[in-house]
Amino acid sequence: MQDRPPSSSSSPIQRLIEAFNRLPGIGPKSAQRLAYYILRAPADEARDLSAALVEVKERVVLCSRCQDITDQDPCRICTDASRDPAVLCVIEEPLDLRAIERTNSFHGRFHVLHGVISPSDGIGPDDLKIAELLVRLNGPDQEVREVIVATNPNLEGEATAMYLARLLGPLGIKVSRLARGLPSGADLEYADDVTLGRALEFRQSVE
């Protein structure tokens, strides 16, 4: 029997396959394909990729207030004095922040949870940036009067929204949820039953 650490016993290509395989959503076969793609790609491409990987870990951090990814802390939105300090929008992922910013309809600040409550994925409230949210609301962001919970309208998003509503209610903060309904430009005939049902349930009076 030889006693060697696993890393030295495996070839470089094997190590690369294993590294890809550890990434979320990448199975053994996809990992293999990616590794062989890198093997055949020009050396520059591999160098760019490895530089980008290292840089993202060294240069990009989470904003200590909103938890968004940023290269300056606090981030631009948190330091932007023109933002409404009374409204905070809570979102699941940094990508959701970009989506809401594109609408130009929201002028408050954000808080990124980095996930949603999902016990079957091993994620409880303590695994999200909820403690950081409470610190903000009790400290630097005491002016917040309304928290808009903009988690996805699925089971886990709803579980997270209800958890936050029960947590923040006693602080005297209004907690609201994004409206659910028909996508604009959609044809009623083609809307699925769930969406149409919710649009009816959350109907609005015509002024």
Binding site: K29, R33, P125, L155, A159, D192, D193, V194
Partner: protein
């Protein structure tokens, strides 16, 4: 309702089948393994989006499509005429995954379309309703409780889209709640984190329970009468709902969803400590059962083979009537090789039901059973190796 056109491509035994259908009776004869059961399975799949017999969706794709096609997929499609819609087209497309040439597929995904538009499974279920009679029906009576819950779910899903949505949500909530119970068992997290899941489980669970209670009450009355007619001399049949609930709650299952939900929530909250110890949710529709009693005794352990067959027939015939009464539009009847095993009297009773619906598709290994004289108006087909040909 009736199917006006059935189209199967790369589906099980069928490389390509285009079958125009009229209302009325259709008899398909063929040897075992010719694909005649797969034909009815394919139609049932369009009604429920899932196969009744096959757990692995990959097996829904024809083997030669999997071997030869760069993007292997099966397409099940039907044009259906109903009392509400003159003409709707429903499609279930099963694609192999991963769809990467050179890499063997190890799973499959299902997509759905109604009139060419991508829809969710819950929007497709019930557009076509079927009642399938098969030899496997005995398993509903003498098999495991899961077979009885599946029977209820398949029957009720076809009748009520709200049932499908509640069932799908219930199953996801249950999985999350059970995971949380195991986390709490390991002292990770607070019991208060159960609040959301308990409320959701009570809401969706109460809907499933009251739907099941009402359905079983109706089926019981009708199946008992039909069983008495099918099995002269046998003790009477009773079909009883056995909900997995604390005894005080069992009395209230026939009430409304809105009155049951808060009681179910209370029972879930009271049972939390023991659920955490068990690491699983001990009450609720996922543990329901149905009892089939003959003269007060469980049929699964005491009834003869002939009595079991009689119960299965009575239950299916009651289901046909239930489906018709609930929707005002009779379902399509699929009889998978069940007539040849019956004596003339029972065969006549089943065929009598067949004349009360718009369309019946019958398979048989024997061209003489049912005999042409019994079904003079039937269209007849021969099937061999997945190829269907009209006779005469």
């Amino acid at each position: 309702m009736h199917i006006t056109h059935l189209s199967l491509a790369g589906a099980r035994s069928f490389r390509r089948l285009e079958l125009p259908l009229t209302p009325g009776l259709h008899v398909v004869t063929g040897q075992n393994g010719s694909g005649k059961s797969n034909l009815l399975e394919g139609i049932a799949l369009l009604a429920t989006t899932r196969s009744l017999r096959i757990a692995n969706d990959l097996e829904l794709i024809a083997w030669d499509a999997l071997r030869d096609d760069p993007l292997p997929a099966a397409r099940y499609a039907a044009r259906v005429h109903t009392a509400v819609d003159d003409n709707i087209t429903i499609e279930v497309i099963v694609s192999a995954r991963p769809a990467t040439p050179g890499i063997e597929a190890n799973a499959a995904s299902r997509r759905f379309r109604v009139n060419g538009v991508a829809r969710r499974a819950s929007d497709l279920i019930g557009r076509l309703r079927v009642v399938l009679f098969s030899a496997d029906d005995l398993g509903i009576i003498d098999g495991a409780p899961t077979a009885r819950r599946r029977y209820l779910d398949i029957t009720l899903s076809q009748l009520d889209p709200a049932y499908v949505r509640a069932l799908q949500r219930y199953q996801r909530v249950l999985q999350q709640r059970n995971s949380l119970l195991r986390r709490l068992q390991e002292r990770r997290g607070q019991p208060g984190e159960l609040d959301f899941w308990d409320e959701e489980l009570a809401q969706t669970g109460a809907m499933l329970i009251t739907s099941r209670a009402h359905a079983i009450a109706t089926l019981n009355t009708d199946a008992a009468q039909r069983y008495a007619a099918l099995s002269t001399g046998s003790a009477p049949l009773e079909v009883c709902y056995r909900p997995a609930l604390p005894p005080p709650l069992i009395e209230t299952v026939a009430s409304s969803t809105t009155s049951l939900a808060p009681k179910l929530l209370e029972a879930l909250v009271v049972g939390r400590t023991r659920d955490i110890q068990a690491g699983t949710t001990r009450i609720g529709p996922h543990r329901d059962d149905v009892a089939f009693l003959i003269g007060g005794h469980p049929a699964g352990s005491t009834a003869s083979r002939g009595e079991l067959r009689g119960i299965a027939l009575a239950l299916r015939l009651a289901e046909v009537a239930f489906s018709t009464a609930r929707t005002g539009d009779p379902p399509v009847l699929l009889l998978d090789d069940v007539l040849s095993e019956l004596d003339a009297g029972r065969r006549a009773r089943v065929l009598a039901a067949a004349f009360e619906v718009d369309q019946v598709i019958i398979t048989s290994p024997d061209p003489d059973r049912p005999a042409p004289a019994e079904l003079s108006a039937a269209s007849r087909y021969r099937i061999d190796a997945g190829v269907l040909e009209p006779i005469g």
